[in-house]
Subunit: 417 residues, 2 copies
């Protein structure tokens, strides 16, 4: 007997028919002898419908009231799925964020979970009940409804799995698992059987949408095994686990992201602290700067060029601020480029394999793709390229690193020069 | 400065545009110097949409989960109205049943309020805040969401007015007040300026839909003045108040109800307790029997005829039970009639005016309308007639009792023979 948390996303509960399939799957797991906790998202489209209502009401809705509004989406799903489990002969009960209770901080629309009272859940499990938890929501110290941000139901599920010591947290979605890259872009993309939290975290940060970053962090922190799989099939999905026992493949996946824009500051006076100031101003407006490249000042020059990327969504709002600062400081000019993409390779094996970045640059060069900026971490390399080359670059990197081939049988990782 | 509870029904919050008018009205009252608490229903159609989802999920949804589902309707309205008040420059906060908290018993779908914590409301009022309360919902001792039954937002509003000592509870609806009868049936129907709780209670019980019975009972119990008025105009509506200070008019209003069916038990053996038994069986199935007429046994007969009415909705479900009992007990036959209506006259003044019932029978007779059954209370007389005569009867009674005329200037009530 295992204890399972099953989380079903928006498309998995997108209609009553789909919800009935969810109820059947949960009951089947229970009848196989498992203890089952279900976490549901809002029906697909519902959260957007509610937020559109809010935007029609006012361009600047209060975040507290946005959360009261948005939380109804998961509440509706939870009640209906509980009814359907009962209809199929099971014992079920819905629980909302404040009923459980999932205690969070008071950061409306992006709250973080502080603690979970698992008493009521444990009681339900002992009584043979399937508890259907409304995902995405919690309650702050003052009893206000909070929500955990987009994709927050993943976080609810992983947090519940951690709080109840579940054996696995199953994340049901509309794809069959985590792929080596986006199958819509690269036909040879393969489903990954097992991947480490660290790699999953990088992939999620770099544009892969299958899991919310926060939920992966939480899974890693509490060592919750996560099984990403499809609610539309019985196929095994991808296990996200700790790296012990995993073979450290050099490159596990290729990710891409077209949501960033490039800002170039041309001839910034070479004074200490000057560049830090503009990043400070952007941070104060909650604009997150991703890649930063500062060309070293050339001999005889007292100015450098600085390039960085920010989300496209923030570009319009940030331009007046950047330009005012540039004028103040005597920057020669500011240039913007929205036609860029970030392509990245991720793999635990990079830690002990040199030459991975060089191989990546070589692959891109052989396709005639110019690299505009580079950033690296221990287990990833990202390059900014012209947006039009995105798909070409993804396919070239994917197959260039052998991701189209079935994984080799496990062998001890070896260090190479 | 007065303290007001303003309750807005489904049509009053039926669209964002209508909600904006609600926000404006609440703010205007506050700017006139009043303390304002707003109670909202679900947007019109929303509760039916949610209940239809439940019925599609299962023919027998659990009442606990129905309440979780249905409560989202008011939650959405409360969040949006709070946003709109803020958008107009006011300070507002939504509160749900469990946040307030409105404590109820655990009778899902028809819970009764036990107590209200008005602390958070009082704090909001002191801070100049308009609290927007989600109507219709509460929380039981175990933290489960409960709802108060159809029209329950009226009850929420009156209960809040009682708990906070409000000067008046304004019920905003799509009509301008309580009328002497249904204006759709009788063109000479007039809006009543002031009516007693007792009369309002009878009218609500007898088919007038403007206020929910439970809310009138509560208003009477706590002497909360209720102002029924339209959210679509500035016109003064109808004040529902205690009878002291009211002129006791003989007939205040005429009501009708086509929702009942007549059941006739022909030749029931005349044994003590026999008839009580069938009513007990119906009560055990939550079928409420309204009018009961037992013809006295005639000389030399050992059987009587018994006629009663039950809601049409319950007829199909009750027939097997009634017929089985009739067979057991040797009742000769059972007859049903769904083509009936109940017309009623209500008025405090009946207490001290004899001959009111006789006048009613005379008016109906002069129109050629046969009376099939009669029931009376201290302040009302109801007659069962053939359904096809309903409108004719309503108009004849309305004008026959002078309700088409403007009320006479106040004069001391006099007893007459």
């Amino acid at each position: 007997m295992a204890r399972l948390v099953q989380k079903y996303g928006g498309t998995s509960v997108g209609s009553l028919e789909r919800m009935r399939a969810v109820a059947e799957r949960a009951l089947r797991a229970q009848r196989e002898g498992h203890e089952v906790i279900v976490v549901v998202s809002a029906m697909s489209g519902e959260t957007n419908r509610l937020l559109a209502l809010a935007r029609q009401a006012t361009p600047t809705p209060s975040e507290r009231e946005l959360d009261v509004l948005a939380a109804t989406g998961e509440q509706v799903s939870a009640a209906l799925v509980a009814m359907l489990i009962q209809e199929l002969g099971g014992d079920a009960e819905s629980l909302l964020g404040h009923q459980l209770a999932i205690h969070t901080d008071a950061a409306f629309t992006k709250a973080r979970i502080r603690s979970i009272d698992s008493g009521r859940l444990e009681g339900g499990l002992r009584a043979g009940k399937i508890t259907v938890v409304a995902g995405f929501q919690g309650v702050d110290d003052a009893g206000n409804i909070t929500t955990l941000g987009r994709g927050g139901s993943d976080t609810t599920a992983v947090a519940l799995a951690a709080a109840t010591g579940a054996d696995v947290c199953e994340i049901y979605t509309d794809v069959t698992g985590v792929f080596t890259t986006d199958p819509n872009v690269c036909a040879s993309a393969r489903k990954i059987e097992r991947i480490s939290y660290e790699e999953m975290l990088e992939l999620a940060s770099l544009g892969a949408k299958v899991l919310q970053i926060r939920s992966v962090e939480l899974a890693m922190k509490y060592a919750v095994p996560v099984h990403v799989r499809s609610s539309f099939s019985e196929e095994e999905g991808t296990m996200v686990v700790s790296e012990e026992g995993l073979e450290a493949v050099v490159v596990s996946g290729v990710a891409y992201d077209k949501a960033e824009a490039k800002v170039q500051l041309i001839e910034v006076p070479d004074r200490p602290g000057l560049v830090a100031e503009i990043f400070g101003r952007l941070a104060a407006r909650n604009v997150s700067v991703d890649m930063i490249i500062q060309s070293s000042s050339r001999d005889g020059h007292t100015a450098t060029d600085v390039t960085f990327t920010i989300p496209k969504n923030d570009l319009t709002g940030s331009r007046p601020l950047i330009e005012a600062w540039a004028r103040e400081q005597g920057v020669r000019s500011v240039e913007y480029d929205e036609d860029i993409a970030k392509v990245s390779i991720v793999g635990l094996g990079m830690r002990c394999h040199a030459g991975v970045a060089a191989k990546m640059f070589g692959i891109l060069a052989s396709e005639g793709i110019n690299i505009q900026a580079i950033s690296t971490s221990e287990i990833k390399v990202s390059c900014i390229i012209a947006a039009k080359y995105t798909e070409l670059a993804v396919r070239a990197l994917h197959d260039g690193f052998g991701l189209h081939l079935p994984p080799e049988p496990a062998a001890p990782p070896k260090a190479s020069a």
